[in-house]
């Protein structure tokens, strides 16, 4: 597909153009940047919802259930599901679609699996770009599912407007819940598999953890919602709560701060990519060799490269 044709087709909601555009964004490079620059003015319409939590917590099943509920409310839904890339082969098995089969065949749903391609933090480099493209193609809700995340993978909070942290019963004592990291980024907590023993305790622990601190500065107290994603129990409450959070953000409760944080993240990523692309070359390779041989160090080498920019 010829790249200049992509933009009008993408904005018209053409699914194949959207799929190709996401591949282009994953590949990176000048053509990808030109497309994303042209798409940018058409973004910012969708409600971007992030789902994160430990592996096996039921994130994919929850995404499937939430998407079905949004479809019942006549909202179109785009999904970006990220799974890890092998640090050894560079390959990946992306299996999130298995749990999303009930969404197959619905033209109001678009699902894209992405490999993290070496990026830590739960997302891939191009995840935010994929979200922007899906948004520009007219989808009203965009759900991002991160790789199974433990404690430090907080990138999602900079990309999503509403971040849902999924926990399951029996994942550790209550000190886990006051540690820094993922628990701090939640706008909503979901305790999935709430039909299991210990679910009440997990809900109580999360609620009491919140009461240990000062009330949130932006006035949004993250609710703790029990759910059973496989049966659909608790799903309407989550969708409603996410909707209330979007309204809260728009009403001035932190939308600007979020938008600024997202914008800064995007700028930082773009600068990094462009700088590295421009700096790569014979001088770069020579410095890599020097550092490997301990004749130079990464910090002086970086200074040297940036002086030449």
């Amino acid at each position: 597909m010829y790249i200049p044709d992509l933009l009008p087709r993408l904005l018209g909601g053409d699914r194949r153009a959207l799929a190709r555009a996401i591949s282009l964004a994953e590949q990176g490079g000048p053509a990808s940047r030109a497309l994303l620059a042209a798409v940018y003015p058409h973004t910012g319409q969708a409600h971007v919802v992030g789902i994160t939590g430990p592996p096996g917590a039921g994130k994919s099943t929850l995404v499937n259930a939430l998407a079905l509920e949004w479809r019942r409310r006549d909202r179109t839904v785009g999904i970006v599901a990220v799974d890890p890339t092998s640090p050894f082969s560079g390959g990946a098995v992306l299996g999130d679609r298995i749990r999303m089969q009930p969404l197959g065949g619905d033209p109001g749903v678009f699902i894209r699996s992405m490999a993290s391609r070496g990026r830590l933090g739960g997302l891939s480099r191009a995840t935010a770009d994929a979200v922007a493209l899906i948004d520009a193609a007219g989808f009203q809700v965009v759900i991002i599912e991160t790789v199974g995340a433990g404690q430090g993978e907080v990138d999602i909070a900079r990309t999503a407007q509403t971040t849902i942290v999924v926990e399951v019963p029996g994942m550790g004592d209550d000190v886990q819940s006051i540690k820094a990291g993922v628990l701090e980024i939640a706008d909503l907590f979901v305790v999935n598999k709430a039909d299991r023993e210990g679910a009440d305790k997990t809900v109580r622990q999360l609620r009491s953890m919140q009461r240990l601190g000062a009330p949130p500065a932006d006035g949004w107290e993250p609710p703790v919602l029990p759910a059973v994603a496989t049966s659909g129990q608790g799903i309407t409450e989550i969708v409603e709560s996410a909707g209330q959070h979007a309204v809260h953000l728009r009403a001035g409760g932190g939308a600007d701060a979020r938008a600024r944080a997202t914008a800064e993240g995007e700028l930082r990523a773009a600068v990094q990519e462009l700088a590295i692309e421009r700096l790569r070359g014979p001088a770069w390779d020579a410095l890599v060799a020097q550092i490997a041989a301990r004749q130079n160090n990464p910090y002086s080498a970086a200074e040297e490269l940036l002086r030449g920019l």
Binding site: R15, G91, A92, R97, I98
Partner: protein, 136 residues
């Protein structure tokens, strides 16, 4: 710029045996490819729609039910309808030599790998043939 090869591994039809599909998915992952595994009992429509959304270079179909002469040509037809002829389609499973010749000759299946196939041969075939039509 080198692009990572993306492969959709799918099981059309009703048989519930996906060990072969998982072995292939694993081998392709270890060869540095991104494998989207969609699970059991996929209709041709579901497979083609997933391939479109995922913008894959290759579709790998595992079929053990005997319905391959119905399902595989249908998938090729749907791909043509979507102008996705540039996607490489390979099949594996229990498919007779005779049927394999017909599938390759008349129904756009690029290769058929039966039981006992070496995963290295499959990886090699995909590496050589993926994305040729797409990039030309």
């Amino acid at each position: 710029m080198e692009r990572t090869i993306r492969v959709l591994v799918a099981k059309p039809g009703l048989d519930g045996h996906d060990r072969g599909a998982k072995v292939i998915a694993r081998a392709l992952r270890d060869a540095g490819m991104e494998v989207i595994y969609t699970g059991l009992q996929q209709t041709p429509q579901m497979i083609v729609e997933a391939a479109l959304q995922e913008d894959v270079d290759v579709i790998g179909l595992s079929i053990l039910s005997g319905a391959h002469m119905t399902l595989l040509p249908k998938i090729s037809r749907l791909l043509r309808d979507q102008q996705m002829d540039d996607v490489l389609v390979v099949a594996g499973g229990i498919i007779s030599d005779e049927d394999a010749i017909t599938l390759k000759g008349e129904h756009g299946i690029a290769a058929v790998f039966g039981p006992g196939s070496n995963t290295n041969d499959i990886v090699g075939f995909i590496r050589t043939n993926a994305g040729i039509a797409r990039d030309s």
